[in-house]
C-alpha cells in the first residue's frame, strides 16, 4: 500500500513537468451571412486548443489519472473526457428546421433537430465502451441540463461510415463509435447558461457577450454544438459553436432586411476577452450589390469583410457592425421558382392513415448538372419496422433499382434489458443530374406497452431525420464530386396506437366480472341439484 502510494506520488511529480509545457490557445470568431430570403445567419465559434494533449488511453482507466491543470479549457468538460476516456465527442442541441434550399449548407454541419450525441471511444477490457457511453450521457445531461440520459440502447447505433473520426486515429486501441439522437429534445436557456460557463470569459467579455438568450431563442433557427477532436499534430481541440438564423424582416417595423449587431442581439461588445489570442467578426457579403456596410473596412477578401476585435488591434470597442440597403424601401421576398442553393434537396414524409402501417417516402433532387452519389442513412427507433422487400426506387414513376447500391440493413435487435435497438438502413443512391429520385418503403408501427408511452402520448413520437452524406472519396475521382456536407432531413411525427390511460382499473374490474360470470355459471352447473317439479293440474 505504502509503496504503491509512493509510486503514485512520484508519478504525480513527473507528470506536471510534462504538462507545464502544454500551451492552451483560445480563439473566437463570429461569421455573419445575410441570406437571400432576408434572414441573417450567424455562427459563433469558440475554439480552445490544448496543445500536445493526448486523449486518455482507455486501458489505463483502472488506474489513478494524471492531474489535470487547465487555464482556458473548461475543467468540468475535461473531467468528463478523462473519466470516460473519450477520444472524440460531438454534441449538438438544435431547435427548428434548417432550410438547406434557401440557406445553403450551415457553417457547422450538425443541424439535426433536437439533441444529437456521438462519441468515438477506444475499446478496453477495464470498462466496456457501452458502460462509458452510458456514463458520458448522464454526465453530459447533468452538465448541459438536457435529457441526454434517455439516449439509451433504444436510440444508440454505430454508423461509422456517416460519422467518421474527424481528427486523427489514436494507435493505442481500436476505436468504436456510439451515436444517438433525440429529436424531441427542446433547446432553451437552461442549455445556453451552462454552455456559456464553459467559455473562459463566459458572457462577460468578447464575442460571447452578444449571446442574449432572449434574442437567440427568438431566432427562426438556433442551435449549439460542442465538438471535441484530437489531432496528432496540434492536440485536443474543443470547439463550441452557436448558430442562429435571425429574421430582421420579421422583427423590424418597416419590413426591412437591414441589420446591425445591436438590433440582432440587443447587446454590444463592451470589451474584448483578454485571453483570446484572436477574436474576429467576419461578414460574408451577398452577391448582389446595393448594400452598404459600416464601419468601412478596407479588408475585403473574396467577398469577406473581417473585423479584428482582439485587444491588440486598434479597432475601437464598443463597435456596432451594420449592413443596410439604402435604396430598398421594404424587403421583397424572392419569388418562386427559386433554384435551391445546395446540390441536393431532400424531402421525407410518412403517409398512411391507419395507426398500424404506413409508407415512408423520400424524394431526393439533384440540382446540379452532374451525377451525385450520396450515402443515405436511416436510423429508425424500433417504433417503426421497415419492410425491405417493399423498397422501391423510382424516377418519373419508373423503377430504377440500379441506382441503389451497397444496401445494408440491421433490423432491430433485442437488448439485454428487454428493449429493442433501433434499425439501421444504409445505402448509396446515385442521382442523375437535374432529376428527382423517389424512394419508398412500407412500415409497420409498433404496438407499445402502456408504460412505454411518454406523458403526452397523444402527440405522437418524433422520429429522427435521415442523414445524407458525401461518400468517402476515392483518390482518382475528386473532380467529379461536388463539395457538400452532411444533410439532415427534418424530423417526422408518427402516430402510434395509443391506449386510453385511464383504463387499468377499468380493465381489472371488467375482466374480474367476466371471470366471475364464467366461474359462477360453471360452478352452478356442477353443484346444482336437479329436481322434477310436478305441477298438479
Amino acid at each position: 500500500m505504502r509503496r504503491a502510494s509512493i509510486w503514485i506520488f512520484l508519478a504525480c511529480l513527473c507528470i506536471p513537468s510534462f504538462a507545464l509545457y502544454r500551451g492552451e490557445i483560445y480563439s473566437e470568431d463570429l461569421r455573419i451571412q445575410p441570406l437571400r430570403d432576408g434572414r441573417v445567419s450567424t455562427t459563433f465559434s469558440f475554439i480552445t486548443v490544448l496543445e500536445g494533449a493526448v486523449p486518455r488511453n482507455p486501458k489505463a482507466l483502472g488506474q489513478l489519472d494524471e492531474s489535470q491543470h487547465y487555464a482556458l479549457f473548461p475543467l468540468t468538460l475535461g473531467q468528463i473526457l478523462r473519466e470516460y476516456a473519450i477520444t472524440e465527442l460531438h454534441l449538438t442541441l438544435n431547435a427548428g428546421k434548417w432550410n438547406y434550399d434557401n440557406w445553403g449548407h450551415p457553417h457547422e454541419a450538425g443541424v439535426g433537430t433536437g439533441a444529437e450525441l456521438w462519441a468515438w471511444m477506444g475499446a478496453s477490457e477495464v470498462t466496456t465502451v457501452d458502460e462509458r457511453w452510458s456514463g458520458l450521457r448522464n454526465a453530459l445531461s447533468g452538465l448541459f441540463c438536457a435529457s441526454l440520459g434517455s439516449l439509451d440502447s433504444r436510440r444508440t447505433l454505430s454508423p461509422t461510415v456517416a460519422f467518421p473520426l474527424s481528427g486523427s486515429t489514436p494507435t493505442f486501441a481500436p476505436h468504436e463509435l456510439r451515436h444517438a439522437s433525440l429529436p424531441s429534445e427542446s433547446v432553451c436557456t437552461e442549455n445556453l447558461t451552462p454552455f456559456l460557463k464553459l467559455l473562459p470569459c463566459k458572457s462577460h467579455a468578447g464575442l460571447a457577450a452578444l449571446l442574449n438568450p432572449q434574442k437567440v431563442f427568438d431566432a427562426d433557427w438556433h442551435g449549439m454544438g460542442i465538438h471535441v477532436t484530437w489531432k496528432e499534430d496540434t492536440g485536443v481541440e474543443l470547439k463550441l459553436t452557436l448558430q442562429a438564423v435571425f429574421n430582421p424582416v420579421r422583427t423590424s417595423a418597416g419590413k426591412r432586411r437591414d441589420w446591425n449587431l445591436q438590433s440582432l442581439f440587443d447587446r454590444s461588445i463592451e470589451r474584448s476577452c483578454p485571453v483570446a489570442s484572436s477574436s474576429s467578426v467576419t461578414v460574408i457579403l451577398p452577391e448582389e450589390k446595393g448594400y452598404q456596410i459600416t464601419p468601412e473596412n478596407p479588408a475585403h477578401i473574396n467577398g469577406l469583410v473581417i473585423y479584428d476585435l482582439s485587444s491588440s488591434s486598434n479597432f475601437t470597442i464598443p463597435s456596432n457592425i451594420a449592413m443596410y440597403w439604402p435604396s430598398e424601401h421594404s424587403f421583397q421576398y424572392p419569388l418562386p421558382p427559386l433554384t435551391p442553393v445546395t446540390p441536393l434537396s431532400v424531402k421525407r414524409t410518412i403517409h398512411g392513415t391507419t395507426q398500424t402501417r404506413g409508407v415512408l417516402s423520400i424524394s431526393v433532387t439533384n440540382n446540379s448538372p452532374q451525377e451525385i452519389s450520396a450515402g443515405y442513412l436511416e436510423m429508425m427507433p424500433a417504433l417503426l419496422t421497415l419492410w425491405m422487400h417493399t423498397l422501391k426506387v423510382e424516377i418519373n414513376s419508373q423503377i430504377r433499382s440500379d441506382l441503389l447500391s451497397g444496401l445494408k440493413y440491421h433490423p432491430p435487435s433485442p437488448q439485454s434489458n428487454d428493449r429493442l435497438s433501433p434499425s439501421m438502413l444504409q445505402a448509396v443512391l446515385t442521382i442523375p443530374p437535374k432529376t428527382t429520385l423517389k424512394l419508398s418503403m412500407e412500415v409497420n408501427k409498433a404496438f407499445l406497452k402502456y408504460t412505454e408511452h411518454p406523458p403526452d402520448a397523444m402527440r405522437g413520437w418524433d422520429l429522427p431525420g435521415a442523414v445524407f452524406f458525401p461518400l468517402p472519396q476515392s483518390s482518382h475521382d475528386t473532380s467529379s464530386s461536388y463539395d457538400w456536407e452532411r444533410i439532415y432531413t427534418p424530423t417526422l411525427l408518427v402516430d402510434l396506437p395509443t391506449p386510453d390511460f385511464s383504463m387499468p382499473y377499468n380493465v381489472i374490474i371488467l375482466s374480474c366480472t367476466l371471470m366471475t360470470l364464467i366461474f359462477g355459471s360453471i360452478f352452478n352447473l356442477l353443484t346444482r341439484k336437479w329436481v322434477v317439479v310436478e305441477i298438479q293440474e
Binding site: 511529480l13 470569459c201 485571453v275
Partner: protein, 501 residues
C-alpha cells in the same frame, strides 16, 4: 297433438335423483374440491404477493454495537529519564489514568501503557528519551528536555496531547470533512474581473503543488488517495457588494463575517464536479477586481484584520490575493504564501491534530505521532458511524412492517458486520489496517441503509392489493359460500329426516 306428445315424453323423464351425476356425494365432492383448491392456493397467493423481508442478524448487530475498538499503545521510557526521578513512570501513569477517567470521550478506544525496560519491542511502540530540548522526532520518538523530564505533570500533558489530541471545541468536528478514501482537491484561481490592469492569466500551480501539497499528500496516503486538479477562471463576480472602507488616504473593501458565509457564488463560479461522487475540497485563490482591491476581512468592530484567508468548514479554503501584480502570471514565489496556507488548511480540513504547544518538530510535515493519532481517530469515527448506521437499519426495519429487506441489503449488513469484526481484530496489530476495515464497514452499512429497494413498496400498501383483488375474490366467494351453506342445511335436514325415520 303437441300436448299429447309432451305428455308422453313427460312420462319418460327419469327421476333426477337416479341420474349417475345427481348424487349428493358427487355434488359435495365437487364443492369440497373447490374449497380444497382455494385453501391450498391461499398460502401460495399470500407468499407471492407479500413483501420479501429477510431476517437481519439483529442479535449480532446488537452485540457488535456494544463492543468497541481498542488500540493498545505502549510508551517506553528510556533509562535516561528514570535516572533523575525513579518514580516518574508510576506518577505519569497515575496522571494519565486520571486524565482518561475525566475525559472518557477523548480517550475512547485507547489503552495506554507505560513501560520501563525493553521488554518487548513492537513496531508501534513509542519511545521517550532525554534530549536537548523537548521536540518530536520522526519514527515515534519524543525527546524531552531536562526540565520537562522532571515534572510528571508536564510529561503527562505532552503525552496525552500527542496520543489523544484534545477535541478542542465543537468547531473541530464541524470543520473536518467526512472520511472518504478518495478526495478530489480542486485548486481554482478566480479573477473577480479580467481588466487589463489587474488580472492573472496563468499561475505556476504545479511547482507550488509539488512543494507544499504533494509532501502532505504522500504522508496522508496511508489514509486517503487524492486527485488533484486546477483551473483558472477569468470572470468570477461576487454575489454581494463588499463594504467600502477608507483607511487613511487609501480606499479598500471589507468582508464582514456575514459576507464570508455567502462568499461562494455557486451560481456564477463553475466549481462543481459532475463526474464522481468523491468529496471535493476546494482551494480558491481569489484575485479581487481593481475597484475592490485591496480586499480585507474585517472584524466585528469594522476594523480590517491582517488575515487574508479563511476556511469554510467541510468545503475548503479561500485565499484573497491583495499583492500588487507585476505581470499577468503568478510565479512560484508569489504562490509560496498562498500554498503554505492551503497546506495548513488542507491538514485542518482532514483533521490532522496540531503539534502541542511548546513542542518543536524535527523536519517534515507530519510526525508519526500525529499521523497515528489521526488514524486512530478516523478508525474510531468510522466504527462509531457504522455501528450507528447498522443500529438504525435494524430499528427502522423493526418499526416499519412494510419495508422490504432483500438479499442485497442482508448481504451488505453481513459484510459490514464482518468488516467491523476485522477492524476490532486488527486494531492491536495495525491501526492502518483497522482503518481500512472500518472504512469498508461504514461504506457497506451506508450502502445497505440507502438501498433503493428498501423504499420500493412503502408507497404500495396492502390496502392497494386488496382493492385490486376484491372485485374478483368477493364476487367468486359469494356463490362458493352460498353453496356451502345450502348444502350444509340440506345435509342437516337429510340427517334429521333420517333420524326421524
Amino acid at each position: 297433438m303437441n300436448s299429447a306428445a309432451f305428455a308422453s315424453t313427460g312420462f319418460g323423464f327419469k327421476d333426477p335423483r337416479k341420474l349417475s351425476f345427481e348424487r349428493d356425494w358427487i355434488r359435495r365432492a365437487v364443492l369440497a374440491s373447490y374449497w380444497i383448491v382455494i385453501i391450498l392456493a391461499f398460502p401460495f397467493w399470500w407468499h407471492l404477493t407479500s413483501i420479501e423481508r429477510l431476517a437481519l442478524p439483529t442479535s449480532q448487530v446488537r452485540s457488535q454495537v456494544q463492543s468497541n475498538i481498542v488500540f493498545p499503545i505502549a510508551v517506553h521510557f528510556d533509562a535516561s529519564i528514570g535516572q533523575q526521578n525513579p518514580s516518574l513512570n508510576s506518577q505519569v501513569q497515575a496522571l494519565l489514568h486520571d486524565c482518561a477517567i475525566n475525559e472518557p470521550g477523548r480517550w475512547r478506544g485507547i489503552d495506554l501503557r507505560l513501560k520501563d525496560r525493553n521488554d518487548e519491542v513492537t513496531s508501534s511502540q513509542y519511545t521517550v528519551a532525554l534530549g536537548e530540548q523537548t521536540s518530536i522526532a520522526h519514527s515515534r520518538h519524543l525527546r524531552v528536555s531536562k526540565t520537562d523530564a522532571q515534572s510528571a505533570t508536564r510529561l503527562s500533558s505532552i503525552l496525552s496531547d500527542l496520543i489523544a489530541p484534545p477535541k478542542s471545541s465543537t468547531s473541530h468536528s464541524q470543520r473536518v470533512v467526512q472520511y472518504s478514501d478518495h478526495y478530489r482537491l480542486a485548486f481554482t484561481l478566480l479573477n473577480e474581473d479580467a481588466t487589463p490592469n489587474r488580472f492573472v492569466e496563468t499561475w505556476d500551480v504545479q511547482a507550488a503543488l509539488a512543494e507544499f501539497i504533494f509532501p502532505l499528500m504522500s504522508r496522508l496516503s496511508i489514509l486517503h488517495n487524492f486527485t488533484v486538479e486546477s483551473q483558472v477562471q477569468y470572470y468570477a463576480p461576487l454575489a454581494f457588494e463588499p463594504k467600502r472602507l477608507t483607511l487613511g488616504d487609501t480606499e479598500a473593501s471589507g468582508l464582514t463575517q456575514e459576507d464570508l458565509t455567502v462568499f461562494i457564488n455557486s451560481a456564477e463560479w463553475t466549481l462543481a464536479s459532475s463526474v464522481s461522487n468523491d468529496p471535493v475540497l476546494h482551494f480558491v485563490l481569489f484575485v479581487p477586481s481593481e475597484t475592490h482591491s485591496p480586499m480585507n476581512i474585517i472584524d466585528s468592530e469594522g476594523r480590517p484584520t491582517n488575515q487574508s484567508s479563511f476556511l469554510l468548514p467541510q468545503w475548503g479554503s479561500i485565499f484573497i490575493l491583495n499583492n500588487e501584480l507585476n505581470s499577468s502570471s503568478l510565479s512560484y514565489n508569489d504562490l509560496k504564501p498562498v500554498f503554505r496556507n492551503f497546506a495548513i488548511q488542507l491538514a485542518a480540513l482532514l483533521g490532522v491534530p496540531p503539534v502541542p504547544i511548546g513542542l518543536s518538530m524535527e523536519g517534515g510535515f507530519l510526525s508519526d505521532w500525529q499521523l497515528d493519532a489521526l488514524l486512530r481517530r478516523r478508525a474510531l469515527q468510522n466504527v462509531q458511524g457504522s455501528q450507528d448506521t447498522l443500529h438504525s437499519i435494524v430499528k427502522l426495519v423493526d418499526q416499519i412492517n412494510n419495508m422490504p429487506v432483500g438479499q442485497v441489503v442482508r448481504d451488505d449488513v453481513l459484510d459490514a458486520l464482518t468488516s467491523l469484526h476485522e477492524a476490532y481484530r486488527t486494531a492491536a496489530a495495525s491501526p492502518a489496517l483497522a482503518l481500512r476495515w472500518s472504512s469498508k464497514a461504514l461504506s457497506m452499512a451506508s450502502r445497505a441503509f440507502f438501498n433503493p429497494g428498501m423504499l420500493a413498496l412503502l408507497y404500495f400498501p396492502a390496502e392497494h392489493k386488496y382493492a385490486v383483488y376484491t372485485p374478483l375474490f368477493a364476487s367468486i366467494s359469494v356463490p362458493l359460500v352460498v353453496a356451502l351453506i345450502r348444502d350444509f342445511r340440506a345435509w342437516r335436514r337429510g340427517s334429521q329426516n333420517d333420524g326421524r325415520r
